[in-house]
Structures are given as C-alpha cells and as structure tokens.
Subunit: 317 residues, 2 copies
C-alpha cells in the first residue's frame, strides 16, 4: 500500500496536541493546536449545525480534521468545540451555566464519537434566568479576552446574527443581553419589500450615522422609518448605499438605545467580524464611547484553550 505521507503532515500529526473547533449554525471551523496554544493548521466548511442531521455530525468533523489525527492505537486526541454543537438540536446538549459565573468555568459535555482517535468535549453556554437569555459560543470569546486581560472590568459587545452585550467583572459574566438586530437586518434586507431599495453591499457612512442618531432619539418610530426607506426609494430615488446605511443605522441605533445600561460609562470591547464591528464602533463613537475592537479568531482559540484547561482541572484564569 503506497500511502502518501508528506513530511508536513507527519509533522502536524506529531505536534497536534489538541483540536479546537467553533461549530455554529452555518459553519464549522477547526484548528490543529500545538501544546503551547499556537494554531498549526486550520480548516473550515459550510457544515453548520443548522444543516446537519445528528448522524452527520461526526463525519462532518472528521472530514476537516482527519489529516491531523494520529494513527490508530495512539490514543484519542481531544477536540474542544464551542458554539451551537452544544444546543438542544446539536451533537449533545451541554447544559447552560447560569450567570453570574466565569465564562468557561464548567466541565465540558462529552459527545459520543465512533472514531477511537477523537475525544469530543463541548463548551457549555451561559444562561440568565431573568431577563431570560442564553448564549452559546460567545462565552468562549469572552474567556479568551479574560485570558489576555484577567482583570477586565467592563462590557463586551459581540455583534452578529444575535448580538450579545455582556457585563464582565472579577473574571465572571455578571449579566448579558441579546439583541436580534443582525437577524432582523438580514431578513429585511433579503426578504422584505426593502430588498428592492438596497441592492449591493455598500453602506453610506453619513446615512448610517444619521440613522443611528434618529433611532436613538425616537426608537418608537422604527416600523415607520423602515417603510420610509422603500417610499424614498420609490418617490425620490434614494441611492442604494444610503438606503442600506439607513437600514443598518436604524437597527443598530435602536439597539444602542436599548442597551444604554450596558455601555454607558463603561469600557467597551467589540468582538466580531471586522466590517460589522467597525459600524458598531462608529455608532458608539457618536455617543462618546471609544470602543476597542478585538480580533475574533485569536480570542476564540484562547477561550477554547481556557475551557480545555478548566476541564483538565487547570483553573479558569
């Protein structure tokens, strides 16, 4: 049997101490990790939790990581996963930890795998009883932030489909709040009557900032101002980047009006995709908050390393 086994692959197998994974609703991202926490290799696919049946979870993971695994009989490699893999419809439900608590203080949920080369652990999400709220995945990025800045006392804003605002103090998530802003934007931009008004991806920044201000001043006017985008497009030829900027600004501005108890007078760090994070930073700038943006992948990996250390009894910080 002539098996190709290039040197780099041997290297990687020898040096891969564990595997990190971020498994969301729409994508799966994996990293081969060295013992010191350095990523050696990365792979990703569109096999999100939302598109897989339970029997597909392990094959979807193996498709990305099998090159990194040791030969049979060498003992399993630990795979540490954050995100929707731990949801009720995920690989195995990882019970939430209730805040206030450290972001990754609980033990990992063990997911059954048929392949003896892997041992799969899933990071539990966080819950809050009142007001009811949940997160899965973002707790790991917060843990990554705390690994770099153990004494951080402030607010973490994690923009995305469901944007999270978390108050972090003394190594714990004290409270948090989720806003459906990103999902509402996507539904309105793609599926509502507004789609006719905003082809393309470009956002006009002055229009965005003006809409942020409008929405913060009169958040109750949202449903009317949204239709106004369609009407101005029909009657006055509103340019698409202006329309898109206004839609984004109205929604983010209303979110800022609603999350004022979080960001007012606190240090704010934004963790998210660069483009969206920049919009949040610009919007926060209009109310005098100088938010700092952090690099997401690095924090995810540091958080997964922290979760692994906690699970091994190494302590949270």
């Amino acid at each position: 049997m002539a098996e190709t086994d290039p040197e780099t692959q041997i290297d990687r197998r020898q040096r891969t101490a564990w595997i990190a994974a971020d498994w969301g609703t729409t994508s799966l991202r994996c990293w081969a990790m060295a013992a010191d926490g350095t990523p050696l290799d990365a792979a990703q696919s569109g096999d999100g939790m939302g598109s897989l049946a339970p029997e597909d979870f392990e094959p979807a993971l193996l498709r990305l990581i099998s090159d990194w695994l040791p030969p049979d009989g060498a003992g399993p490699v630990q795979v540490v996963i954050c995100g929707m893999a731990g949801a009720r419809q995920g690989w195995i439900e990882a019970p939430y930890s209730a805040v206030p608590c450290p972001p990754v203080g609980a033990s990992l949920a063990r997911a059954a795998a048929n392949d003896p080369r892997i041992a799969v652990g899933i990071v539990p999400g966080l819950s809050q009883a009142r007001p009811a709220d949940v997160m899965r995945g973002e707790e790991t990025q917060i843990a990554g932030l705390l690994a770099a800045r153990p004494g951080f006392d402030g607010v973490v804003c994690l923009p995305g489909t469901h944007t999270k605002w978390a108050h972090v103090s003394a190594g714990e998530v004290v409270s948090f709040q989720t806003c459906m802003t990103g999902e509402i934007f996507a539904l309105l931009a793609v599926r509502s009557v507004l789609r006719h008004a905003l082809p393309g991806e470009e956002i006009d920044l002055p229009a965005f900032l003006a809409a942020v201000s409008d929405a913060m001043t009169a958040p109750q006017a949202l449903a009317a101002r949204l239709f106004g985008i369609r009407a101005e497009s029909l009657l006055h030829g509103l340019p698409a980047p202006t329309a898109r900027g206004r839609l984004s600004g109205l929604l983010i501005g209303q979110e800022l009006a609603g999350t004022k108890p979080y960001w007012l007078g606190r240090e704010v760090i934004i963790i998210g995709a660069p483009g969206l994070s920049a919009l949040y930073a610009q919007a926060l700038g209009t109310v005098g908050v100088a938010a700092e943006a952090a690099e997401t992948t690095r924090l995810t990996l540091a958080g997964l390393a922290a979760a692994r250390a906690v699970a091994a009894g190494g302590g949270a910080a």
Copy 2:
C-alpha cells in the same frame, strides 16, 4: 354547438353594469356589480401581482370575470381595479396623487386590454413627499368610508402587511404613515429563530396586552425583548400562544408608540381583516382609544364605485 347557458348566468350578464377588482400582491378578487352598486357575484384567485409576468395580467383577470362579460359586439364592460395593479411592476403604473387630496379624486389609469369586451381602469395610489410615503389600495377603502360618512374627521387605521395610518378631514387624506409591522411579524414568525417558539396560530390575549404595554413604555428594548421570547421558550418552556401573543404585542405596541400623533385624541376607525383588526382595537383600548372596526369588502366596493363615479365626472362625494 350545445353551449350551456343557465338562466342565472344570462341574468348576470344582463345585469352586470361594471366589474370591481382588488388586485394585491398575493391575490385577485373580483365582483360583478349591478348599476346600483350591489355585488351580484364574486370570484377570487391567488394570482397576485407579485407572482405574474406582465403578459399574464389580462388572462388572470379574464379567468375570473369572463362568465360575467356580454357577448362580443355588445361594447366593453368597465373593470375598475385598485391595489398593486397600478404599481411600477403592475399592469400599468398609475401615477400617485399627492396628499392632501381626496382619496380617489384623480382619473383612472387606462390599462391596455386585448379583449374588446373589457375596458380596464386602475385607481391611482396616494403619495406623500415628506416624510416619504406611498399607498396603493387603501385609498379606495378610505374613499368607501367617506362615501358612507362624507363628514368623517379622524384617523383611519388599516392593519396589514404594511399598516397605514391616515388622517382624514374635509373629504381629503391630509397625511399618512406606513408601518412595516405586519411584514416584520411574518418574517420573524416564519423565518427567524423565533419560529421554534411559536408553532400554531393561537394568541394569548393577556400576553399580547402586556407586551403592548411593555413596548409602549420602552420601545427601544424591542430587539432584546424579541430574543427574550426565544430564551424564555428554551429556559422556562414559554407556551406557544404566550410567545405568539408577546411577539404580536411587542410589534403592535411599538407601532402605537410611534403613531401616537395619529391616534391621540382623534376618532379612530380600523379597516382590515377581522382577527388583526380586533388585536389593534384591543391594543388601542389600553390607551383609552375606543376604535371602531369597519367591514373591509363593503368599503372596498363602495370605494371602487366612488372612483368609477369620479372617473365618469360624477364628482368624488
């Protein structure tokens, strides 16, 4: 040729003075009308403007009304249409009338038809320059209301996909405002993460009213309260009718907060589907507004009759 020609059909042909039609994005409804404004027969289909190509407009109409048409050579029957048939993507664009103006004061837009048995006229919609707004179809129902109550001075609320609030005085629409509430509800209920929380159609009225009150008090909290429905469903088993009532109440409550300049201290008449109109009436009741609900089809027919009379030079009221 043995053509079946039952007596009722002959009767209908002889007595059909004109044909009324309400052609929206998702459906087409037609009525054979007697000269005195009595509907003689009705037909409807799912051939909405949104699903038809331009060459399909006339065939879709003829499928519903051909039984009502006179024999060839008897001269055309007038078909008066309101709704999206007059939009830019409709049969022919009927230019908007700018408010303030009577709801159906302008002449009908003539749509070209190949069949010599019909003469098609489309009722123009209304526009407002600032704040930019448009309506197509609702102006006809407002005209129907004014036909019954020429001196009406107050506000007409027309709940639907795009809910309209119109200030009506001295026989004219003075100003109006459109809220995307219905479309946002449908997108969230069917396509967002909230769909898991609210199977079924039942709405819990106390939950609806509590959410109306919450949203009016703190409209800026919408995006967070929406996600709270999902979180309470996951954590505390929120019953689906409660979740659905809360979603509807949050959106309608925010709309009421935004349309306060319309309904405050004015007589309010609601024109819309019975279930949704009842919810709006209940919501308005919580802020001391005793809104009256009107029967939609009757007003549509009265409005189309008024539009026909205006076009024939008979005057608006």
